[in-house]
Subunit: 117 residues, 2 copies
Amino acid sequence: MAGLTINEAAETTGWSPRMLRYVESAGLIEPQRSPKGYRLYGPEELQRLRTLRVLLEDHGIGLGDVGFALRLRRDTELRDAVEAWFEAEVTRPADIPDSAWLRWEQEKHQRLLAALT
Amino acid sequence: MAGLTINEAAETTGWSPRMLRYVESAGLIEPQRSPKGYRLYGPEELQRLRTLRVLLEDHGIGLGDVGFALRLRRDTELRDAVEAWFEAEVTRPADIPDSAWLRWEQEKHQRLLAALT
DNA sequence: TAAAGGTTGACACAAGTGTGGTAAGGTTTG
DNA sequence: CAAACCTTACCACACTTGTGTCAACCTTTA
C-alpha cells in the first residue's frame, strides 16, 4: 500500500472526505491513484493538507484564494498582467496638463451626443 | 474641479456608478474626495478602471481575485505563508522510511481509541 | 430656490462557492 | 461472498459576490 485511502487521510488531516475531493478539484492537492483509481495520500500530501488548514485559518482566506495564488504562480501571463495593473501609471501625451485632459474627458459625452445629431 | 464625479467616471469607464463604489469597497480604486465627500476620479483612476475591466475579462478573474492579489502584495506575512505552503516539503525524521511512517499514520486512530479506554 | 446630482445604507436577486448527503456501481478483504 | 470502502455524479442548502434599485438626506448649480 503506497498511501492512505481517502477516509484514512480525512481522519488524520481533519478534512472531510468530501472536502478532500473538493480540494483536489481546486488543484491544490492531487494524490496518486491506485491502479483501480483509489486516491492514495502519501506523507507529503497529508502534511500539506494539515498546513493548508492552518494557512486558511491563520489568514482568513479561502480555498479559492489559494487556488488563485496557484494560478498566479503558474500562469506567467496572468501574473504579469496583474502586476502590470498594480503598477500602471497614466499614459497620455505629456504636453496635455491634467486640467485640459479632464475637461476633454468631461466633454466627451456632449461631443458624442453632438456627433449623433 | 480636481476630477470627474462618479457619474462622469462611470460614463467614461464603462462601470456603473454602483460598481465604482463596489470596486472602491474592494480596495482597488479609491478616488480622492471633495471637501464635502464627493468622489473625484482623476486621470490615473480612470485609466486604471478601464484597464481593470480588460484585466478581468482577459483572464476570467473576479474583483475578489484582484483584491486578494492586492492583499498578497501588501501583506508580507500572508505572501510568505502562501509561498511557504506551495514550497513545503515533508518534514519528519529522515530515518523513518515512508512505509513505517504510513503505518504510524494508519494506526494513529486505533492508538487514540485505545488511549481512551 | 428648485433641479440635478452626490452620499450612505438597505433590500433584492442571480450566479458562484463551500459543504454535506445520497445513489449506483466497482473493489478489497475478513 | 458479504461487509466495508472507493469512485463519480447528482441534489441540496447556506453563504458570498456582483449588480440593480430605492430611500433619505446633503450639495452644487442654473
